[in-house]
Amino acid sequence: MKLAPKLTILFLLLAIVPTAIIGYLAYENGSRTIVQETIDHLVSINIFKSNEVKRWIKEDERSIEELAQRPLVKEFAAVLAKHDNFDSAYHKAKGSLIEDHLNPRLKYGLVLELFVMCPRHGLISASTNEKQEGKYRDTYPYFSEGKSRTYIQGIYYSSVLEQPAMTISTPIKDKQGNLMGVMAGHLDLGELSKIIALQSGKSPTEDTYLVNTFNFFVTEPRFGQGYALKKAVRTEGVEAGLSGKDGVGFYKDYRGVPVIGAYKWLPDFNMCIITEIDQAEAFAPVVGLARVITGIASAISILAGLLGFFFARTITRPVQQLAAGAEKIGGGNLEHRVGTESKDEIGGLSRAFDRMTESLKATMVSRDELEQRVRDRTAQLEAANKELEAFSYSVSHDLRAPLRSIDGFSQALLEDYFDKIDEQGKDYLHRVRAASQRMAQLIDDVLNLSRVTRSEMRFEKIDLGTLVSKIRKELQERQPDRKVEFAISSGLVGRGDARLLRIVLENLLGNAWKFTGKHPLAKIEFGVTHVGHGHDKPVFYVRDDGAGFDMAYVDKLFVPFQRLHASAEFPGTGIGLATVQRIIHRHGGRVWAEGEVEKGATFYFTLP
């Protein structure tokens, strides 16, 4: 991966991990608080409303009990209970009971109907609703239970009222404690509904309702109509509440909507009260919190990502520039400069790189100049050399004509005037001739030397052994009486110009032949050695056991016209070894010599 994305990801991770952890903790903490608050709220609603319901029922109870304990009511009830025949006393008692005691109480609005039942069959003897009179209530719990105590008949479906009803009954007893009747009242459930439906806040989903032991709704829930005593509800909260528990749960309500619900069993009424709120609403602040946290975390992450990207760029851009610069300079453009303002390490590196390019450029320029100078000088030298060679050639050539005249006329003098010239004159003439011949020989050698340096070279493989053998034969033919032992290694092959190498070997072998001339028995060797020179090229050598030389003068050996021996002792012009050196140098090889006086000399040379 490249540096920039690497750094960006690193920055992102560095930002995301801590924000995620902190965010999660904040969310957990916040949501727990919010949910706890909601739960507390629901529980308090249940407590508040159930207390209100209790208070309301208690009030109704007291109201009905108070009626039943009025002395006049007791008297009237006794009349109604005793008289089966409907005489005037009966009607008077009934009328007074209804008019003076029951009807006024209706105005309080607590009950819908108040009535008195006879103790024997539960016959309704007096009622605020005249239509109810004459009915028997002997099978109703509010009658059978109401005979002995104040009794609340929980919410049941009244086929008389054709609606849910709740009835409170209480016995009417005379001073002796004999049962005179049962006073009962149907409660106005509108009041109950009001209490239950009372909204504590602006919550759009908060919903409180009562459920009886048959799992039926007792009051209308917020999101249902005609549910009261007509629809059962079996949610988790209701089941828990009906099993006598108080608590809170997360479950799906009667609509199938997930809610938080608080349930509370009301033992006095055999009902449970449920208050629920949609989880969607309850969790809305939690979701909001989560959004805020996520928003902050995302913002931090984006910022970190951008920062990372920016920093990565500030680092990688100079590096990229440097790399691009190196590429260009490597491609040969020494004019290019990376050029950076940056003060950091990479800036330093860039500047160092620029300095390096600068000095490289300077070096390259001086090298070019040097090469040019070398080329110029070489050209000058070549021109000078050519002139010199042309000069020496013409000199040598032009010198031969006068020399031939000197020699020719000296010979003519000796022949034509042989008798007229005394012996001394003849000697002088001989000397003139010898000197002129020697000079001609010198000129020939100088010409040869100049030709060696001028002539074209043709490289080929040459069997050196064979060449040496041919030269040996020529030497032997020239002086057949000399006894020289030759040791020539066979199969020695070198690369070079055949004509020039022949000159080299003629010179080296000629020298060996010449300098062994004073030894009655001589030995000349031609071979190859690899050792002693430090590189892999074969080193050829010519060795003799002749006069040798003093190693002190080895430097002068290859200098033209330098001689280590008197020409009287060993004849020669002093050009041979100079020629050898030139030829070997022209082949790109080296030539050197080792020797000792009277022990012989060895000449080494290499070929490409």
Partner: protein, 335 residues
């Protein structure tokens, strides 16, 4: 090609594994025929719900519903074994029992009678004593409306009113004479005729016999003594599934209506809903569990029938019903 082969071999393997699985010994479901009291309608919603919710299947019972009708003798159907269970009212059970037909009620579905006497609100007739000198269309046609006459006389007797002072005419299911005022009081079912009258927008006074000490069970589930003694387990299972169906029906009557509409002859959702709403308080009285029966109610009914000389000879009323299965299903708890 290879894929197909592979799929095929996997299928074969699956089939083999399934086939090798130790099969639960599942017997074929027992066939049960239930004779309904009348044509398919919301009146029998609980049975449909039990069927639809698979409660019968869960008890390994396959139920066939047999519709009732004008000419169908339900007692005969059950006693003869053409049906295993019958939905019928207690007075028929008593009558059958009295004639030696071994019918026994195992649960009371409608624990309050749907019989109600109605008078126009403006007539001033609010209680049975107001019937004196009026015309009441209560006479039995000799069919299934025996309960109208029965309850009418029982109510009169209970209140010490003399029936001869009341003019009785035959019951007219069309209520024509009642609508045009020739008949001041007519009985009807709160689950039937009453709905029709209210749909007409009539203002009515309702006189419930139960307000005057006449407590009758209505639709009850009965079977033969033989089935009870031979296959008590089947009876328990059938009753358990039935009661669950009824429980569901009262707990969510709208859903029960939806189910009913699959069966009902008159697939009128409005009518079936009204019927359902009317019968809910009769099935679910808010006192005891669905189907529960009380000794004193049976005795009260027997007493009334005996008083009205509708029983040829006295017999032990406790033979006409049994709490055995209700006790078994509800664990002996009435509430």
């Amino acid at each position: 090609m290879r894929t197909i082969t592979r799929i095929f071999s996997i299928l074969l393997l699956v089939i083999a594994v399934v086939a090798c699985e130790p099969q639960q010994v599942k017997r074929a479901p027992e066939e049960v025929k239930l004779q309904l009291k009348w044509l398919h309608q919301a009146q029998f919603a609980g049975f449909y719900v039990a069927q639809e919710n698979g409660y019968y299947a869960k008890e390994n019972i396959k139920v066939t519903f047999l519709e009732g009708g004008q000419d169908i003798d339900i007692v005969q159907r059950v006693v003869s074994g053409q049906a295993d269970f019958g939905v019928l009212t207690p007075e028929f059970i008593f009558a059958a029992r009295n004639q030696g037909a071994p019918l026994t009620a195992i649960a009371a579905i409608y624990r309050r009678s749907a019989v109600v006497f109605v008078a126009m609100a403006k007539s001033g007739i609010v209680r049975p004593s107001d019937f004196i000198g009026k015309t009441v269309a209560t006479r039995d046609l000799g069919g299934s409306q025996k309960d109208f006459e029965l309850q009418f006389h029982a109510m009169m007797k209970r209140l010490g009113l003399v029936p001869s002072k009341i003019k009785t005419v035959p019951f007219d299911p069309a209520y024509t004479a009642f609508y045009n005022g020739k008949v001041e009081v007519t009985p009807c079912y709160s689950t039937g005729g009453l709905i029709k009258m209210r749909q007409k927008g009539l203002k009515l006074n309702l006189i419930w016999p139960s307000d005057y000490g006449i407590h009758f069970y209505s639709d009850s589930l009965a079977t033969t003594d033989r089935l009870i003694s031979e296959k008590p387990d089947l009876v328990t299972r059938f009753l358990r599934a039935t009661l669950r169906g009824w429980q569901d029906a009262i707990e969510d009557y709208r859903q029960a209506v939806t189910v009913t509409l699959k069966y009902a002859q008159v697939a009128d959702p409005e009518l079936q809903t009204a019927m359902m709403e009317a019968m809910l308080p009769l099935v679910h009285t808010g006192e005891n569990r669905v189907g529960w029966m009380k000794r004193e109610v049976w005795q009260g009914m027997y007493q009334i029938l005996l008083e009205q000389k509708l029983l040829a000879k006295p017999f032990d009323v406790n033979e006409a019903y049994t709490l055995r299965f209700l006790n078994e299903i509800y664990g002996g708890k009435a509430k």
